[in-house]
C-alpha cells in the first residue's frame, strides 16, 4: 500500500507541472531576497578584483575573513533579513499547501482559480492547525528534559563525557522522530480539513494524530521512502557538483542548472508526499468504511459510497 501510495503520489504529479512551478517560483523568489543583496555585495567587494575571478574556483578563507571584517555592516544588514525571509517563506508555503492539497485531491489538473481560492480558503485553518501543533513541540521538549533527568538519575551529576554524548545523540534522534511524527499529524490534519471541510482545527489535528498513529507503519513508511529518495538525490548531487566545480563559464552555468534541478526535485518530492498521503488517506478510509459496513447491520449508511459521493471526481 505504501508503494502504491508513492506511485499515486508520482502519478498525481504528472501533468501538474504548473503546481510544481508555483512551488519552485515561491522558493526561488524567497531565496532571491537573500541572494540578490549578496550578489551586489560580492560585486562591489570583488567585482574588479582577481579575488572575484577566484570565486569561480571556490571560496577562500582569507576572502571570507576580509568580507566579514571589511563589509561587516552590509553583512549584518543581510543577515537581519534572514529571519523575516524564513518566517515569510514558512507562512507562504503554508498558504500554498491548501491549494496544492486541493488540486491533488480533486485530480482535475491545475487551474489557477481552484489553486489560489483553495489556498486562501484553507490558510486560516492551516495556520490554526500549525499553532495547535505547538503544544506538541512543548511536549517534545518536556520529553527531552525527562530523558536528561533519567540520564542524570542513572549516571549521577557527573556523567562520563561518553554518556553525555550518547544521551545527546539519543535525544537528537528521538527529537527527529518526534518532529517527523508531528509533521505527519499536521499533514493528515490538513488532509482532513481539505477532504471533509472540517472547520475546527483542533479536531482536524486530533484526526491527523488518530490517522497517523492508527496506520503508523504506512504513514511513516511513506515518509521514509521519500526521505530515501531525497537522500539519493543528495548523493547524486554531491559528486556531480564537485565535478562541475571548474572555473569556466560552461561548468559554472551547468552547476547553477544542476543546483536548480536539485531544488526542483526536492520540491517535486514535497508534492509527491502530499499526493502519496492523500492516496494513503483515501485507500485506508475506504477500507475502514468497508470494514465498518461489514460490522454494521445492512441498511446502515454506506460510508464508502458517501465518501465517493462527496468526491465524485476521483480518477
Amino acid at each position: 500500500m505504501v508503494f502504491r501510495a508513492l506511485r499515486d503520489g508520482f502519478n498525481g504529479l504528472r501533468g501538474q507541472w504548473r503546481l510544481l512551478l508555483v512551488y519552485f517560483a515561491a522558493n526561488f523568489c524567497f531565496a532571491l531576497l537573500m541572494a540578490w543583496p549578496m550578489n551586489s555585495l560580492l560585486g562591489s567587494f570583488a567585482g574588479y578584483r582577481v579575488e572575484g575571478a577566484r570565486l569561480a574556483e571556490g571560496i577562500d578563507f582569507e576572502f571570507l575573513t576580509e568580507l566579514m571584517e571589511y563589509e561587516s555592516q552590509a553583512w549584518t544588514a543581510l543577515m537581519s533579513l534572514a529571519a523575516p525571509v524564513t518566517v515569510g517563506y514558512l507562512l507562504f508555503s503554508l498558504f500554498l499547501c491548501g491549494g496544492a492539497l486541493t488540486v491533488l485531491w480533486e485530480g482535475r489538473g491545475y487551474s489557477a482559480s481552484l489553486f489560489w481560492s483553495a489556498a486562501a480558503r484553507h490558510f486560516g485553518a492551516f495556520l490554526r492547525l500549525a499553532l495547535w501543533a505547538l503544544p506538541l513541540l512543548a511536549v517534545l521538549l518536556i520529553g527531552l528534559a525527562l530523558i536528561n533527568l533519567l540520564v542524570e538519575l542513572a549516571a549521577g551529576g557527573d556523567p562520563y563525557e561518553s554518556t553525555t554524548f550518547w544521551s545527546v545523540a539519543l535525544q537528537a534522534g528521538l527529537a527527529g522522530i518526534a518532529l517527523l511524527l508531528i509533521s505527519l499529524f499536521v499533514d493528515y490534519g490538513r488532509i482532513h480539513i481539505v477532504t471533509t471541510g472540517e472547520s475546527k482545527s483542533i479536531r482536524a489535528l486530533l484526526e491527523g494524530i488518530r490517522f497517523t498513529l492508527g496506520n503508523l507503519s504506512r504513514t511513516v513508511g511513506l515518509v521514509i521512502l521519500l526521505l530515501l529518495l531525497s537522500g539519493l538525490a543528495a548523493l547524486l548531487y554531491l559528486p556531480i557538483s564537485n565535478w562541475l566545480n571548474a572555473p569556466h563559464s560552461l561548468a559554472v552555468w551547468s552547476l547553477i542548472l544542476l543546483q536548480q534541478l536539485y531544488v526542483l526535485w526536492r520540491l517535486a518530492l514535497r508534492l509527491t508526499r502530499y499526493g502519496g498521503e492523500l492516496s494513503l488517506f483515501r485507500t485506508i478510509s475506504r477500507q475502514d468504511a468497508k470494514n465498518a459496513e461489514k460490522k454494521e447491520e445492512p441498511g446502515a449508511v454506506d460510508q464508502e459510497s458517501r465518501l465517493e459521493a462527496d468526491q465524485p471526481l476521483r480518477p
Binding site: G43, Y48, L55, T86, I256, V263
Partner: protein, 683 residues
C-alpha cells in the same frame, strides 16, 4: 668562581645522596633551587608544604631583600589584581565559596647567623627526618615578621600575590641565601586560570612560594596578572609529593622514587634540573599512554573519557618534539608528560610547565578538528620559547606566545598541510596561520606588539599582539627570507639564548646577524609600532595610440581610464593603412598603511603576457608605465601572497574586466543553500 665551586660541590653532593644527576655539567645558572615536601589533603583541596629555597645572588648588586611570588593568592578574593583584570569575579561566583584559592605562609626561618651555607642546607634534604630541623632548629631564626606584601604594578591593597622578604644583612653578588618556608595552600575548585582541582583530579601549578627574578641590580617581581604568568630563574628542584596511594602522579622532571607510606598514602620523589618552574598533577583516574620521540620519552596521562584519544596525545607530542629537535635545537630533558584535564576542569587545560604540559579534548572529536593536536604542539613549543628561553612574559609576551604561535602553525602545516592543517571537516579546510591572520585583522592597530602585558587597550589586543600578530609577521618574514634562513634565525636564537632571559633586542640582533641588516627595520615596525601594512593597486589606465609609418610620434586615440568604473577596451586590430596600434598603459600602486615593506607587482596584458616589477614600498605611491600592442588586463601587488601581513588582500589587485563569473557562482551557491534551507524548514 665561587659559584662554580659551589655548583660543582652541589652536583657531587646530589650524586652522593642518591638523587639522579641529569646533566653532569649544569645547563643553566642554577639561581633558584627548591627542596620541597608537600602533602595533599585531597578531600579538603589543601596542600601542606615546607620548602627550603637556596638562592644565589647573580644580580650584580648587594641585595637587602628577596621578592617572592605567592600566585595562588590571585584567587583569594574578588578584589585581587588578577580577578579585577580578568573579570573572573563573575566566573568565580558560579564556583561558590569553596572555589577560592590561597597560599598562607605559616613560618619563615633563616639559618643561624653565619650559616648561610647552601651546601649544608642541601645536605639535609634527602633525609626525611631532617625535614623537621633543616636548620638545626634550636638556633634557627624566625623570620616571619619580615615578610611584607608589595604591589609594584598597580598599588592594589587587596592583592597579596607578591611579597618582599627583608634579609638580615645585604647579600653580596655571588653569595647565596637559604631559608625555609612552611606554607598551606588551598587549590581553586574547579581549576580556574591554570591551576586547581575538580573532584578526584588535581592540577597543581603556581603553588609554592617562589623567588622572583632579579636583573641588573633590581628586582623585577610582578603581581599575578590576567594576561601573563611566568618569569623565573632556573634551578634544581627536589620535590616530594605525598598523595593518596591509589593516585597516579605526573610532574616536572623525572620520578626518582615512590615510597609507600603504609598509611594509605604514597610519596613520589621527583627531581628536575635546569628548569624554572615545577607543576604536578595527580588523579586516581588517569590512564597512562607512552611513546618515544627520538631521545625523549613521552607519557600521556589521559582521562577515561578520552581513552580512545590516548594514542593521539602521544602522537601529537611526538610530532612536536621531533619537529622542534630537527629545526630549533635540542630538547635537553629526557621526558615530556602530557596531561589531559578532567571533564569540568578545562580551566587547567592548554598550559605549559617545564617538561609537563596540559592539553584538553572532548569525547567524539572528529578527526579533522585538530584542537587536541594544536594545543599539544603549542604547549610543547613553550618548552622552548618560555622555558628554555626564559624571556619576560610580563613585558614582551610575543617572545613566548608569538614565536610559539608561529612555530605551531609551521608544525601543523608540516604534519597536516598543505591545506586544512587546523580544520579539515565537512569540506571546510582552514590552516592555523589563516586563523591567526583572521584574528589579527579584527583589531590590527590598537597597540604596538611590545607592551607591558596589563597595559594593552583590552584583553583582545593583548591576545592579538602576543599570539596572532607575531605569528603573521613572522610568517611574512619566512615567506620573504625563505624557510632556511627563517629556521636558522630561530635555531640560532634558541641555541644562543637558552637558559637566559633574552629580550626582543636580543632576538632582533640574532635575526640581523643571520638575515642581514634589512630585517631590523622590519622588526622595528612590527614590534614597536602599531603600523598596518596595506599595499593596493588603485588604478589601471589603457590609452590606445596609433604609430604612424616610420615616424614614432604617438597619437592618443581614446582614453580608457580604469579607475573604479571600467570600459571594455577594443581589440587592437592592425589598421588597413599599415598603421600599427599600441597601448600606453599605466598602473598605479599606493601604500595605504604606515608599514613599509618591499613588494612585487605583477602586470598581466590582454595577450596573457606577464611582467613582474619590484617596488621598495617606501613612498606613498608608485606608477608603472608600458607601451605595448595589448592593454593591461589586470595588476596584482604581491601576487604570491608573500607579504602575509598585508591587511587587505582584496585591494591587492585590480582587473579591467568585471569578474562576473566568479561573483555569479558564489551568489548562486549562496542562493542554493538558502533554497535548500528554506525547503527543509517548510512544512
Amino acid at each position: 668562581m665561587l659559584r662554580m665551586l659551589i655548583l660543582g660541590l652541589l652536583s657531587c653532593s646530589a650524586l652522593a645522596l642518591g638523587q639522579p644527576v641529569l646533566f653532569e655539567k649544569p645547563l643553566s645558572p642554577r639561581i633558584a633551587n627548591y627542596d620541597i615536601q608537600v602533602s595533599l589533603e585531597a578531600e579538603k583541596n589543601l596542600l601542606k608544604g615546607r620548602e627550603v629555597i637556596t638562592w644565589y645572588n647573580h644580580c650584580e648588586a648587594p641585595l637587602g631583600e628577596l621578592q617572592l611570588h605567592l600566585y595562588l593568592n590571585a584567587f583569594r578574593n574578588s578584589r585581587t589584581t588578577f580577578m579585577q583584570e580578568s573579570g573572573g569575579a563573575l566566573r568565580m561566583m558560579q564556583m561558590g565559596r569553596e572555589g577560592w584559592g590561597y597560599i598562607e605562609l605559616n613560618a619563615i626561618r633563616l639559618p643561624p647567623t653565619g650559616e648561610l651555607d647552601p651546601l649544608r642546607v642541601r645536605s639535609y634534604q634527602p633525609n626525611i627526618e631532617d625535614w623537621a630541623t633543616p636548620f638545626a632548629l634550636q638556633s634557627a631564626r624566625d623570620w616571619t615578621p619580615h615578610l611584607e606584601f608589595i604591589r609594584p604594578d598597580d598599588a592594589n591593597p587587596d592583592d597579596r600575590s607578591l611579597a618582599r622578604l627583608a634579609l638580615p644583612s645585604p647579600l653580596a653578588p655571588g653569595q647565596a641565601v637559604a631559608f625555609e618556608i612552611e606554607f598551606t595552600a588551598l587549590l581553586p575548585s574547579p581549576p580556574f586560570a591554570r591551576t586547581g582541582t575538580w573532584k578526584e583530579f588535581f592540577f597543581v601549578a603556581q603553588w609554592f612560594p617562589k623567588v622572583a627574578v632579579c636583573q641588573d641590580g633590581k628586582w623585577s617581581g610582578h603581581q599575578f596578572h590576567a594576561n601573563s604568568e611566568f618569569f623565573a630563574d632556573y634551578g634544581v628542584y627536589d620535590v616530594r609529593m605525598t598523595v593518596p596511594d591509589d593516585f597516579v602522579l605526573g610532574a616536572t622532571g623525572i620520578e626518582s622514587d615512590r615510597i609507600d607510606n603504609g598509611d594509605g598514602t604514597a610519596t613520589y620523589v621527583y627531581h628536575a634540573e635546569d628548569v624554572h618552574d615545577f607543576a604536578w598533577t595527580a588523579s586516581p583516574a588517569f590512564l597512562e599512554f607512552t611513546g618515544q620521540a627520538q631521545d625523549v620519552s613521552i607519557r600521556a596521562l589521559v582521562q577515561p573519557d578520552h581513552a580512545a584519544q590516548g594514542p593521539a596525545h602521544v602522537e601529537a607530542a611526538r610530532i612536536a618534539v621531533e619537529y622542534f629537535q630537527d629545526h630549533y635545537g635540542d630538547y635537553p630533558y629526557p621526558n615530556l608528560t602530557v596531561v589531559d584535564p578532567r571533564r569540568g576542569a578545562l580551566g587547567a587545560g592548554g598550559m605549559e610547565y617545564p617538561t609537563l604540559i596540559t592539553a584538553g579534548t572532548f569525547y567524539g572529536r572528529p578527526e579533522g578538528v585538530r584542537l587536541l593536536e594544536t594545543v599539544i604542539i603549542h604547549e610543547f613549543g613553550h618548552n622552548y620559547w618560555y622555558h628554555l628561553l626564559a624571556s619576560n612574559e610580563f613585558r614582551e609576551s610575543w617572545l613566548d606566545e608569538g614565536i610559539n604561535s608561529y612555530t605551531e602553525s609551521r608544525i601543523l602545516n608540516h604534519a597536516y598541510g598543505p591545506q586544512g592543517d587546523q580544520l579539515d571537516w565537512m569540506g571546510l579546510k582552514v590552516n592555523n596561520i589563516q586563523m591567526h591572520r583572521s584574528r589579527y585583522l579584527s583589531l590590527p592597530d590598537a597597540d604596538p606588539t611590545v607592551r607591558r602585558a596589563w597595559e594593552y587597550y583590552n584583553r583582545s589586543s593583548y591576545g592579538i599582539n602576543s599570539y596572532s600578530r607575531p605569528a603573521v609577521f613572522l610568517e611574512t618574514l619566512r615567506r620573504h627570507l625563505g624557510d632556511d634562513t627563517m629556521q636558522r634565525i630561530l635555531r640560532t636564537y634558541s641555541e644562543r639564548w637558552r637558559f637566559k632571559h633574552p629580550t626582543s633586542r636580543d632576538f632582533i640582533q640574532v635575526a640581523v646577524e643571520v638575515a642581514g641588516p634589512d630585517v631590523e627595520r622590519f622588526f622595528d615596525q612590527a614590534l614597536y609600532s602599531n603600523a598596518v601594512l596595506d599595499y593596493a593597486v588603485t588604478s589601471i589606465t589603457n590609452r590606445k595610440m596609433r604609430r604612424k609609418g616610420f615616424g614614432f610620434d604617438l597619437q592618443i586615440e581614446d582614453n580608457e581610464e580604469a579607475n573604479g568604473e571600467f570600459s571594455d577596451p577594443d581589440d587592437p586590430e592592425p589598421d588597413a593603412e599599415g598603421e600599427e596600434e599600441v597601448y600606453e598603459s599605466e598602473v598605479k600602486l599606493r601604500r595605504l598603511g604606515e608599514f613599509r615593506f618591499p613588494v612585487e607587482l605583477e602586470v598581466v596584458f590582454e595577450d596573457g603576457q606577464t611582467i613582474r616589477e619590484q617596488w621598495e614600498g617606501e613612498d606613498t605611491w608608485a606608477s608603472f608605465r608600458y607601451t605595448r600592442p595589448w592593454p593591461v588586463s589586470s595588476a596584482t601587488v604581491d601576487p604570491q601572497r608573500r607579504v602575509y601581513l598585508d591587511a587587505r588582500f582584496i585591494n591587492n589587485s585590480l582587473t579591467v574586466q568585471r569578474q562576473s563569473l566568479g561573483v555569479r557562482k558564489a551568489s548562486a551557491r549562496w542562493m542554493f543553500w538558502w533554497q535548500v534551507f528554506l525547503e527543509m524548514l517548510a512544512f
